[in-house]
């Protein structure tokens, strides 16, 4: 059994430790032979994934390529697309445009999908976009409690914390606590709206334009928009601060 000797345990480790025993009991390694790892593989303290999963994935890829079911170059292209082409810089362009163009902002808030498409973004997991605006007395926060739904065309693939059990469980019941952990303490008179993406609509938060940015161009503004501010767990920091 693993011993709770570490005073700070990483999220994945937390879950893997908690579940090692239970998984051994459960037997059902989820999907028959698939990722079914050997229990002894879990006893290495710093190991967060089964030792052999990289090899098993490689093995599967080889088999599928040999059978001509997939093409290696196509797989490379998918990975490259989501690593380098589709990501939160897209959403940042949308936000920056909304900050400098009131008419665009109005379109964005009423017809999100179409307004986002004006900048060339759309497609899988962005077919039905709703954009919600933060104001001085309203703060929006996006979660998917059932799964990991997230607006891919504007934000890319979600970070691990967004998909984590801790976030999915707490964002709806304790949004103020979650936000405090992200360094955002909201006063009691701010209304928090949590959006649980349970159907096919995907949400993007339009953060408030921070003070001190009056002289900045649209391109400069896009540089300061963070992914987390578009999920709603942080604000875009004022540029007079250290910007971290």
């Amino acid at each position: 059994m693993t011993k709770p000797e570490k005073d700070r345990v990483g999220h994945r480790e937390f879950l893997s430790e908690a579940a090692v025993t239970a998984a051994a009991i459960a037997g059902h390694g989820a999907g028959s032979g698939a990722g079914a790892k050997q229990p002894q593989g879990d006893e290495h303290d710093h190991q967060t994934v089964p030792s052999d999963i990289a090899l098993r994935v490689k093995a599967l890829e080889s088999v599928l390529i040999e059978k001509d079911m997939v093409d290696a170059a196509e797989l490379d292209s998918v990975v490259d697309t989501y690593e380098n082409r589709i990501g939160p810089r897209n959403g940042a362009q949308v936000v920056a445009r909304a900050w400098v163009d009131p008419e665009y902002r109005a379109r964005l808030l009423t017809s999100g999908t179409e307004a986002i498409a004006e900048l060339g973004y759309g497609g899988a997991q962005g077919e039905h976009m709703v954009v919600v605006a933060n104001e001085s007395n309203v703060h929006n926060l996006v979660v998917c409690t059932l799964c990991s739904c997230y607006p891919w065309p504007t934000l890319g693939l979600p970070p691990v914390w967004y998909k984590s059990a801790g976030y999915r469980s707490r964002a709806v019941v304790d949004p103020r606590g979650v936000l405090r952990e992200f360094g955002l303490a909201l006063s009691d008179d701010v209304e928090i709206r949590v959006w649980d993406s349970t159907a096919e609509i995907r949400y993007l938060v339009l953060p408030e334009r921070p003070a001190g940015t009056e002289g900045m161009t649209e391109a400069e503004l896009a540089e300061i928009v963070t992914r987390d501010s578009m999920i709603g767990v942080t604000k875009v920091p004022a540029t007079t601060g250290d910007g971290a």
Binding site: T145, G166, I192, R193, E200
Partner: protein, 217 residues
């Protein structure tokens, strides 16, 4: 199903730990799993493979919590490839295709396939309108459902009608119950109605719900 995946409102699920400068994929294999899932989907057509979401949900609770996101995807992907006779356990073990194993053909799409989640261009009467008060049904089916437990039996207010979508619910076999084209609404639940007096009176949770999940209040 009342699975551990339906975790809105649960306690004890671990900390939220943002990672500075997080890479899109932490390991190469994660990106490969993501790409393999996308690129093999056409082979799954016409084979009653059922709901990918439901397969993820059916992973035993303890394993679900232990596994990382892409481990779950890999698990479901392999399961599907096995079920469709595309790959055998021996092939996966060996990491090479067995020339004696015939490759099943690509099939045309069939009714049992996962439908596009896109809005349907059909005319269906809406039962509710914005500002209507509704109550989420207190139902506990064992198949896939998009009605989170924490909303069931709770009262809320319709804020928006998103148009008509196909129902994504499945039976225990993972197959969709049918299209049942119907309106999907955003329903606003006050945090106090959901969580009691410990919650802020100002806060609320907005949840997108198919019409079948709702009754008038």
């Amino acid at each position: 199903m009342n699975g551990v995946h339906d975790m809105g409102g649960m306690h004890g699920m671990g900390p939220v730990e943002p990672e500075p400068n997080e890479p899109v994929f932490h390991e190469d294999w994660e990106g490969r799993v993501f790409a393999l899932r996308l690129r093999t989907s056409r082979w799954m057509r016409g084979r009653d493979m059922g709901s990918h979401r439901f397969e993820l949900e059916r992973i035993a609770a303890a394993a679900y919590l232990r596994m990382s996101y892409y481990e779950r995807w890999f698990s479901v992907l392999v399961d599907r490839l096995f079920r469709g006779d595309f790959v055998t356990a021996a092939e996966l073990e060996a990491g090479t295709a067995d020339p004696n194993e015939p490759l099943p053909p690509l099939l045309p799409a069939s009714a049992g396939d996962q439908v596009s989640a896109s809005r349907l261009d059909v005319d269906v009467t809406s039962r509710f309108r914005p500002d209507d008060w509704v109550r989420a049904r207190n139902v506990h089916p064992q198949g896939h459902i998009r009605l989170p437990r924490y909303t069931r039996g709770k009262r809320g207010r319709v804020t928006r009608d998103h148009g008509v979508f196909a129902l994504q619910d499945t039976g225990l076999d993972g197959l969709r119950l049918g299209d049942f084209p119907q309106h999907v609404y955003t329903v606003q639940f006050s945090a106090r109605d959901l969580w009691g007096s410990q919650a802020s009176a100002r806060d609320s949770v907005f949840v997108d719900l198919w019409e079948d999940y709702l009754e008038p209040d």
